[in-house]
């Protein structure tokens, strides 16, 4: 397991609480503001997930799609997002793990080996690829490269997946596993706790890996319900929505800070 994630889950366990993982698209609305947002998020979140935008995303709701387009317009690319994360991590005083969330094309175009190496040199702790397929040659290569440098490869499982698929995914997954709570797009519905319970049971049956739950978690009450079942909860659209509505507002980071502070109140087990 990646050391920073290991510490995050151990500390949360000791404090009898769950972990909050916040997502924001890198360079949304621009490099400078995004840097401030990510620093603010690192103060409140157990881990920070940074999106490398892709303009042909197949799993994101319009909230994240709009963020992708804002970031691309601001000149976002893979190189700049790595630079952003490296700079943010050098500014923060804690060991909050940072993950990259993206699609396979930006990774493939950057070159898989080079991407993995860059994760290491930019202090990236983990990677989530939404459209990676366990059996693709790219996934095999990426999985091998990330293992070598101890960068977490966080895989997704969904309510439509059976136990055989979950078992296969667990073999590739490291540090924690991402449970998609419903069949749909990011932030388009309410979290589905029935699904979360069902998938978590299947995961627990086969592995001790920590479980993070995402999709449809926006409020303190959502966080509280999810944390009763899982180890971590991922909040994305709620944060990105604030960025979208307040891109030019001087109080943007403050607003994100108070939103996250409130969500944290739901983390106690």
């Amino acid at each position: 397991m990646n050391k920073n994630f290991q510490e995050m889950f151990a500390k949360a366990k000791q404090e009898k609480r769950g972990s909050l993982i916040g997502f924001a698209t890198g360079m949304d609305p621009n490099y400078k503001t995004s840097k401030k947002i990510l620093i603010e998020m690192s103060k409140h979140c157990g881990a920070v997930e940074v999106g490398i935008p892709f303009n042909t995303s197949t799993s994101d709701s319009s909230t994240i799609m709009d963020a992708n387009m804002r970031a691309i317009k601001a000149g976002a690319n893979t190189e700049k997002i790595f630079k952003l994360i490296k700079e943010v991590k050098s500014k923060i005083k804690n060991n909050v793990p940072f993950l990259i969330m993206t699609y396979m094309n930006p990774v493939y175009r950057y070159s898989i080996k080079k991407f993995a190496k860059k994760c290491k040199t930019s202090n990236v702790d983990g990677l989530i690829i939404v459209d990676s397929n366990n059996n693709s040659p790219e996934d095999k290569e990426l999985s091998k490269e990330l293992k070598k440098i101890n960068v977490a490869y966080v895989k997704l499982v969904a309510p439509t997946n059976n136990e055989a698929f979950i078992k296969e995914t667990l073999k590739k997954c490291s540090s924690w596993i991402y449970v998609v709570s419903y069949a749909g797009l990011t932030g388009s519905k309410q979290v589905n706790l029935g699904n979360v319970k069902k998938i978590s049971k299947l995961i627990r049956k086969n592995s001790k890996i920590p479980i993070g739950v995402g999709f449809g978690i926006r409020t303190k009450s959502d966080v509280s319900k999810v944390i009763k079942i899982a180890d971590a909860t991922i909040v994305g659209s709620g944060i990105v929505d604030i960025v979208g509505k307040n891109a030019k507002n001087h109080n943007l980071t403050k607003k994100i800070g108070s939103y996250l502070k409130n969500l944290k109140k739901g983390l106690n087990k």
Binding site: N55, I72, N77, Y108, N133, N135, A158
Partner: protein
């Protein structure tokens, strides 16, 4: 009439076509795990369907009587004259796919996929994307006939360009979702349809091109190849041989593969024609292979893609049906192994060809078909071989282009 049976002559391996020399892989299934079970179900249903003799017999009966797939081959002495005369360039035949029900090559795949969705997948709803709305129109017609719900995703720019086909789709009962994201064309429409499928996993997604995650590229070309199987048989009956050359237009490649697939193992030289838009050097074009594409992964598959950095680039062409910044994986593979050659036509050349077809052939062709007719004439003129027999795919009718083309004619008179 009996449709010549399908033979698998270019099978993918685990969803990939692999260049034996370079080991480059084309195809695959790059999609959220949420959709993996759906894709597995589509694949199972497809395998079951093509082996089910009763299902295939009933489907072929519908393709013959509802879609009217037995369209003629038209010898075009007018095009021979334009190219330099039969004595100099040989004979030119047009495959009149424009005479299908709903006026394009699209209904063959659309109807077959919907028929499978209804009887084997047991779906109640179909989700699809569309560019020129030829696909949505034919999916909507199939859904009307088969009593299924239909949801169409169309880019806002295309919705305006081809409003007739969009309106016909609506008349057939389709729910139209206009996509305002990104380039507002076919690519974001396909991403939007895939996203909708994630929220409706009980529905079946029907792709209009030989693109998308496995098994779609193989399934679409297999269904669509009915057109080429019939054309090959007709051509042999008329000329005693397979065509010397085949010309098809290529956006994603469904039109090309529908005709080319049954000829892959024959001696026919196959030409795919892309839209050069305002000219390839301007960067404002719809040409993937000739326009500087690289290997990329999008919309569930790996293939040749036009990109700006790691982002999918905007494709710019007059023809909504060619407005796609990638080609299907099997097409890219066939180009890579040098089985298919590529040519291009600019928007201006295509528009002039449109008017020429109306005035000289008495045919209103889809603007997409004008790119191929223009490029074919240039190539045939260059070859100057009187012993050759050429086949051009007239892939659709141009009613939905009339508004824009009459404006073009009046402005240029």
């Amino acid at each position: 009439m009996k449709i010549p049976p399908f033979k698998e002559i270019n099978p993918p391996k685990n969803g990939y076509w692999i260049n034996p020399k370079t080991k480059e892989t084309y195809g695959g299934q790059y999609i959220s795990p949420l959709l993996i079970p759906n894709l597995q179900k589509v694949e199972k249903c497809f395998e079951k369907a093509i082996k089910d003799k009763k299902f295939m017999r009933e489907l072929e009966e519908k393709l013959l009587t509802f879609i009217g797939v037995n369209t003629p081959l038209l010898r075009s002495k007018e095009l021979e004259e334009i190219a330099g005369g039969q004595k100099k360039v040989g004979k030119i035949y047009l495959k009149r796919t424009d005479l299908h029900h709903d006026s394009s090559h699209k209904p063959v795949n659309s109807f077959s996929s919907c028929y499978m969705a209804k009887h084997i997948f047991k779906a109640k709803k179909i989700i699809c994307e569309t560019g020129a709305s030829m696909h949505s129109r034919s999916v909507a017609a199939a859904c009307a006939m088969l009593e299924m719900d239909c949801e169409v995703h169309i880019g806002a720019v295309d919705a305006e360009k081809v409003s007739l086909n969009k309106d016909i789709s609506e008349l057939y009962g389709a729910k139209i979702v206009v996509v305002h994201e990104s380039t507002k064309s076919l690519l974001p429409a396909m991403a939007s349809a895939l996203r909708s499928w994630q929220s409706n996993p009980d529905a079946m997604y029907v792709v209009g091109s030989v693109a998308g995650p496995s098994p779609y590229p193989r399934m679409v070309r297999t269904w669509a190849s009915v057109i080429g199987r019939i054309a090959k048989q007709q051509f042999k009956q008329i000329t005693g041989k397979v065509p010397s050359t085949l010309f098809c237009v290529c956006g994603g490649g469904s039109n090309l593969m529908s005709m080319a697939y049954p000829l892959l193992k024959d001696k026919t030289e196959i030409f795919a024609v892309e839209s050069a838009g305002e000219g390839i050097p301007t960067g404002r074009h719809g040409a993937t292979i000739l326009g500087g594409s690289k290997m990329g992964i999008l919309l569930g598959f790996k293939s040749k893609v036009v990109m700006k950095s790691a982002q999918i680039a905007e494709s710019l062409t007059e023809a909504s049906g060619l407005d796609f910044a990638a080609v299907g994986p099997e097409v890219a593979y066939l180009h890579d192994i040098r089985r298919i050659k590529f040519r291009s036509t600019t928007d201006m050349e295509a528009k002039k060809t449109f008017l020429m077809c109306c005035e000289k052939l008495g045919i209103v062709p889809a603007i997409e078909a004008c790119y191929v007719i223009n490029a074919a004439l240039k190539e045939i003129k260059k070859r100057k071989n009187p012993r050759e027999n050429h086949l051009i795919h007239l892939c659709g009718s141009g009613e939905s282009n009339v508004n824009r083309m009459i404006k073009f004619k009046r402005e240029n008179e």
